[in-house]
């Protein structure tokens, strides 16, 4: 009904379009400028730094071309750091999504106190990662921590959470999942509440039990939510940092790529160029991962 069938005069159209464009630019330019200055300029600057041998704070640097990249990939550090990054990312994303969905299913009922329970589950997500890390460090402390006391009571020795690298990584994963579970749970809860009751009812009438209904109706309908959560949690997990620095002072257990970039750039030997190289590698991984997710994984997503 509203379709425009008559052609508007060309002049008027371009005048109007020009005004639209000016308004558009007025809205967009400040943001684009901010993004260019604070995101893209540092991005390119960082790629440039990654080609330097530069000690942070020093006024001088030596260009080394791709030397930093060569050092990283040929020294054996790459496989070590990328393995840790992989384990950390897969474990945290997998557990956050699986447990988040579990919690969302538990909370998706009209029970008294459900609102309070939701708030409680979500609360850790908004806490500072560093603070959470410090608090949990005292719980995990194998000598004076609450967890070691509990383990002692049941006749077990506490693992060396802080000084043994595999246990440190486990500890950091557990705390990271605890902290971020609420985010996945709340997003899943919103997704669950959007699952149409009539579809579930129809499946019920067709004789599908609760498990079948979950796997054939609910889960496929949640796939856009799962996809969204996967993209965001992978990005967050690859950039997890505050918790790591609080819980793994020497970076022996949870030395992921971004943590490695911090340790080499700001602690240890203050090698800013090398650290910039690590950040660039992380950037490349994030871009590739996101493209793969958008192109390959999204095909399996059911949008209604």
């Amino acid at each position: 009904m509203t379709a425009v069938t008559t052609k508007r005069p060309r002049q008027a159209l371009s005048g109007r379009r020009l005004r639209e464009w000016l308004i558009f630019l007025a809205f967009v330019l400040p943001n684009v400028a901010l993004i260019a200055v604070f995101i893209y300029r540092p991005l390119f600057q960082n790629i440039y730094y990654s080609t330097l041998n530069w000690t942070l704070g020093s006024k001088f640097a030596t260009p080394v071309g791709l030397g930093n990249y060569r050092d990283f990939f040929t020294s054996g550090e790459a496989s070590k750091v990328l393995t840790t990054t992989g384990i950390f990312t897969v474990a945290t994303v997998g557990l956050t999504l699986a447990l988040g969905l579990g919690v969302a299913l538990a909370l998706n009922r009209k029970l008294p106190g459900a609102g309070f329970a939701q708030a409680t589950v979500f609360a850790p997500y908004i806490l500072s990662g560093y603070g959470v890390g410090l608090a949990w460090l005292y719980i995990f402390d194998p000598n004076i921590g609450a967890l070691s006391a509990i383990l002692r009571d049941v006749g077990l020795n506490s693992p060396e959470w802080i000084n043994s690298p595999p246990w440190t990584l486990t500890m950091v994963i557990v705390v990271y999942v605890w902290k971020n579970l609420g985010y996945a749970a709340v997003v899943y809860l919103a997704g669950l509440q959007a699952v149409p009751g009539d579809l579930l009812e129809a499946a019920d009438l067709d004789g599908a039990g609760p498990v079948r209904r979950f796997f054939t109706v609910t889960l496929p309908l949640l796939s856009p939510t799962t996809f969204f959560l996967m993209v965001t949690t992978i990005l967050n997990s690859l950039q997890a940092f505050d918790l790591l620095i609080a819980m793994d002072k020497l970076g022996r257990g949870a030395r992921t790529l971004i943590f490695d970039a911090y340790l080499t750039g700001f602690k240890e030997q203050s090698q800013a160029g090398y650290s910039a190289m690590l950040s660039t590698v992380l950037f490349a991984i994030l871009v590739v991962l996101t493209l793969v997710q958008l192109i390959v994984v999204e095909r399996r997503v059911h949008y209604r």
């Binding site: 043994s164 996101t290 958008l294």
Partner: protein, 458 residues
């Protein structure tokens, strides 16, 4: 129809997929956001052996200056009092105290970042392992001309403590929160084990006590190694020296951490953990563990003294660090931090900073600071009576001062050397790795740091 109008603005469509894509790109890019300014790649960078002292004649001190500290030894209260006293004592300069980090590493990180982003402090609290890096990077000034202009009584500073900051014939910092490691022991456990109330004369003597202690005290460990991150490289120098070794040769960059003496010293300690099973490593903080009764003995800083005494529910014994089989006289490293002045601020601010540093380290303030924290008094003329009245154990730290040795270059002059030591010690003491292999690997790492980062500057 809708399609055609959408196509009309096809460049602006932002569906869910594009939104996610763009957000991801934005977030990924944010991961790269680095600091502001950058380095120059033309010339410079090499070390200059001549040190230029700043001429302060005719300079008027700035009115307002900032003092960055990480509040070592929980010193925020006493530092605030000293700053307030300075501000009240004259009307020309106002000092603002800024907590610029929770520890030496954090304050160093902030200072390094401030080099490129501006907003430098006027006085910086710099630790034993960081000041040389600042000196190499031309970030702090030599203080000798300032000592002269402001008539510092440099002869009154404890010689070894001021001497620690001497390089290229210039002083790069003034001692402030200076410490030595101490041997802490639980007097109740000592009594239960039938030991007399004193620390061991040598580490081997403690080796004879440890099993008895473990059995009698019921504690988890007879001895707990301090948390490795801040202590391994520092306190273990005493063990290495005791066995005739060291991280590097005295006053030299010749790395000797894999010598037979060093390996023997560390193997001796490793056996306590894996063979005798009476020792372990602190996770977060050995003083906290010690105060909770986890271990009968540990090693900590003099800066931990007040904290240990106030938080333990038993009587805390303090002794000088034991000697070894080769270096039979007790000998221990100095440590802790001093205060310095950044280079890239105006001479007016540097002069004002010097004026405050002079006040901060005067005997009266030095004693007040030591009394509140347990750090050693840095002035010879400071009367420790007030400290000893409150904390008699501090006598041990004061008596130990003449038996100190400046730290190995490998720890304090090689950037990141300290963390390399901590990492390798962690492999030995918490993962049961072979001492010789780890020390060989440490040597390689330290030599690489020297060649890449220090050699071009010295």
């Amino acid at each position: 129809m809708n399609t055609s109008s959408n196509l009309h603005r096809s460049g602006l469509i932002l569906d869910r997929r594009r939104f996610l894509g763009l957000s991801a790109l934005g977030i990924s890019a944010a991961a790269l956001s680095a600091c502001g300014g950058g380095p120059s790649t033309s010339g410079g960078g090499g070390g200059s052996s001549t040190v230029e002292q700043i001429d302060f004649s005719g300079v008027k001190p700035a009115k307002e200056i900032t003092f960055w500290t990480s509040n070592p030894g929980d010193s925020i209260k006493v530092s605030t009092e000293i700053v307030n006293a300075f501000n009240a004592s004259q009307s020309d300069i106002t000092v603002k105290l800024v907590t610029a980090g929770a520890d030496y590493e954090e304050i160093a990180q902030k200072f390094q970042t401030a080099q490129t982003g501006g907003d430098l402090p006027d006085i910086i609290n710099l630790s034993d392992v960081w000041w040389f890096r600042y000196k190499m990077n031309d970030q702090i000034i030599p203080l000798d001309s300032l000592f002269e202009a402001l008539e510092f009584d440099t002869d009154d500073y404890v010689d070894s403590l001021l001497g620690d900051y001497l390089y290229d014939d210039a002083h790069w910092a003034v001692p402030w929160a200076r410490s030595t490691p101490l041997f802490y022991y639980n007097k109740d456990h000592w009594k239960k084990a039938g030991l007399s109330d004193q620390g061991p004369q040598t580490w081997e003597e403690f080796g004879e006590w440890k099993t008895k202690l473990a059995q009698a005290s019921g504690a988890k460990f007879a001895f707990q190694f301090p948390a490795l991150a801040g202590y391994a490289g520092w306190t273990l120098q005493n063990n290495l020296w005791g066995w005739g070794g060291g991280w590097s040769k005295e006053e030299s960059f010749d790395i000797t951490c894999n010598s037979s003496e060093a390996v023997e010293a560390l193997s001796f300690l490793k056996d306590w953990v894996y063979k005798d099973k009476v020792a372990g490593v602190a996770g977060v903080d050995q003083i906290q563990d010690f105060a909770a009764g986890v271990a009968s003995a540990t090693v900590g800083s003099t800066g931990d003294l007040i904290n240990a005494i106030t938080s333990a529910k038993f009587e805390v014994g303090v002794a000088p660090l034991p000697a070894g089989p080769v270096e039979t006289e007790r000998i221990c490293p100095t440590g802790g931090s001093g205060v310095g002045i950044p280079k890239d601020i105006s001479p007016e601010r540097q002069l004002a900073a010097g004026t405050f540093i002079k006040f901060l380290t005067e005997p009266e303030q030095a004693i007040k600071f030591s009394e509140a924290t347990g750090y050693v008094p840095i002035r010879k003329s400071a009367d420790p009576a007030a400290i000893l009245k409150k904390t008699p154990q501090a006598q041990v730290a004061i008596d130990q001062l003449p038996n100190t040795r400046s730290q190995d270059y490998a720890r304090v002059f090689l950037p990141g050397g300290d963390l390399e030591m901590a990492n390798h010690m962690a492999s030995i003491l918490t993962e049961n790795k072979d001492v010789q292999t780890e020390m060989d690997s440490l040597k390689t790492a330290l030599e690489k740091i020297y060649t890449d980062q220090v050699k071009p500057h010295v």
